[in-house]
Each structure stands twice: as C-alpha cells, then as structure tokens.
Symmetry: C3
Subunit: 144 residues, 3 copies
Amino acid sequence: MSLVQELKPGRLYLFSLDHDSEIVASITNLAESLRVEAGVVSGIGALQKAEIGYYDQKTHEYRTIEIDRPMEISSLIGNVSIRDGKPFLHAHVTLADSEGNVKGGHLSRGTVFAAEIYLRELIGRPLERCHDPTTDLFLWSETR
Amino acid sequence: MSLVQELKPGRLYLFSLDHDSEIVASITNLAESLRVEAGVVSGIGALQKAEIGYYDQKTHEYRTIEIDRPMEISSLIGNVSIRDGKPFLHAHVTLADSEGNVKGGHLSRGTVFAAEIYLRELIGRPLERCHDPTTDLFLWSETR
Amino acid sequence: MSLVQELKPGRLYLFSLDHDSEIVASITNLAESLRVEAGVVSGIGALQKAEIGYYDQKTHEYRTIEIDRPMEISSLIGNVSIRDGKPFLHAHVTLADSEGNVKGGHLSRGTVFAAEIYLRELIGRPLERCHDPTTDLFLWSETR
C-alpha cells in the first residue's frame, strides 16, 4: 500500500492563526478556502489546551490524551491531502509545558494562543485517503 | 490579529553551523548576511547546552529552562521575519538526552556541538512583528 | 568546519512507506532509486518499534536506545546528502507512546506501521559527509 508521488511546486503561505481559534479547523479552513488539495505544513506556537491522539496498533482505535493546560507547540508537522472529497489536515505535534516536559502525538484539537504556520502547496494528481485494510487507517495509495 | 500571506519562492540553503557557536545568533547572522527577510527554517543536530523558554499565558512572562548537559536536537522548526527592522529568528526545539528523554520549548540560546539547518527564503511584502495586545507577544499582523 | 551552501529547487515528493518496512532503509532506497543527491525530509506516522541514538559528546560514541513498543512519529526531520559516494539519510525523530510521553534522538532504525514522508530535492554541488576531527562525526564541510 505504498505510494511515491512527484508533485509540482504550488503557492507558499505563512499564517498567523487567530487567538482562541481551534487549530485543526483553522488550518483546514485556510486550505479549503485557498483550494489547496495537497501540501505540507509545519509550524510553532502555543496552545491554551489540546487533545492529542495515539493510535493503538493492536485494537486499531485512537486513544485520546487530554492536555488541559497551556503548552508551547515545540513542533507541528503535517500534510494536506483529500479525504471524502475535501482538503484534510493530518498533523502531529510535540507540546511542551512550563518545565519543558513534552507530550506528543496526533493533533486532534487545540485552542490557539498564538501559532505561526507554513503551508507549501503541492500540485499534481490529488492524493486521496482511502481505507487501508492492514492498519484500518485512511492512507494514501496508488489509485490505479 | 491573524494573517494569511502568500510569498514567492526565494533562495534555498543548507548550513552546517560552527562547533561552539551560539545557535540563535548563528542562524540570525546568516539570515542577516544573506539579506533574508522572510523564510522558514528546520534542522537537526546536537547542542552542548541550551536555554529554552516557556511563555506563561497568564502572566505574559517567559520562564527560562536551563539545560546544562549535552542534548540531541531532535527537532528545530522556525521562521525568519522582521522585528525592529532586522531579520529575526523565531524557533522552537525539542532536545533529547542520553536516555532519549525530551525537553521542548522556545529556543532562546544553545551552544552548537553540530547542527544541520535548512533555510528556505520566502519573498514578498515583509512580515513584521508588532506588539499584540492580547498575548503581549510580537506577532505578525496585517499591516493595513 | 562550517558550510553555507545555496542549492536550487529540485523535485518534490510525498511518500507513503510500506507497512513493516524499515524506515531508514526505505527512505534511503527511495532517494537512491530517484537519484536524489541532496534534499530535506520531514514526516509523521507511526512505528511498531524503533532504535534511536544519542551521540556522547565526550566519548564520541553512539548510545543506542531501544524502543520495543508501538510509537507515533510525532516528528521526523532530516536531510539527504552524500556519504561514501551514495545518498545518505540523516534524520532525527520524536516518538510518542500511548500516554503521549516522548522519546527523541537520532533515527537509527524503525519498523513502519504507517508513515507519510515529504522529500524536497535540492540541486547543486553535492554535499559530502567527511570525518570531522572535532566531533568525530561525518559532517558537511567546504570541499575547497
């Protein structure tokens, strides 16, 4: 179920996200309004609170980790592709607390304190997420 | 106070930083000498010691976390924009110790053991950092 | 032993790596088969198990940290350059467990559960890794 896809350079953006906005929705909405169908994302900032996920490789269920305190976004790395016909953000983060201690995982949700995000659009045959029977995740696959 | 700015592709650099140099000053000096006014930065390497920061979202003060031992740079993500008329690096890191345990936050200072840094220049209307009354941080904002 | 090298934009790829493949070999093999001699890499995903490294700055030896449980790849950042005449991946990771707790360091080995990798080729004078007497690492240096 692997894929190697060459894409062409598209538009380049720097975003500063709204204070109090929800980070996943904000980035997704920007991708959607700009009609970005594929791209890569990276960024830093701080969240007021967050929800991150860990995918259990045995049970194939996401476990939710609630973080109910302010955290620095020490890293955010992700990509945009198509799921269910719409731009979909898949991002992972590491978050650091007041002692510098770090939690990480799949970014499910987060309330922005401040965030600086880089989005690089990639142009080409759309990368579509389809159900992968091995992992039960929605992964990219060769579409033919 | 949000911003969405499209930029054009600029120059691309790989840097290997000097052993014993201070990492924030080294990257800032390179950006300045190359006249890079906007860009994104990522990298890996190792530091001999470091100082990272956590911004207290209530008191609006930075808390300093001193790390007085050698650490791998497990991630460095950041950007270059303009503050006080000069190129300014804003970077966050995660740092890993000899057991793989990680500290993260705002990169204030670090002594390079070895570092490999990617800098992508972005060209367009300069992104300037201005005081943001909500967070007391110097953030990008629409300049009109 | 520092280096500042400007490179030109090359090809852009998104990869989805094979389930059960070894991540370092997979990315290296892709770079080799695509004849990518220099580039930067970033990505996210999950590993079934991993081996990460910490370079002891005093003894100049790698210490190995075995992680024998499934982990999210909360960040992967790296680069491709030339070592011993062939494309060589140097990547660092942070990995997060079911509680969100994070381990980080040099990525030595990992068994892919799922991984989404971005590779940006950079074109120019090849960056070659040579022994650096100060650190005993194989670093880029000015070749003349």
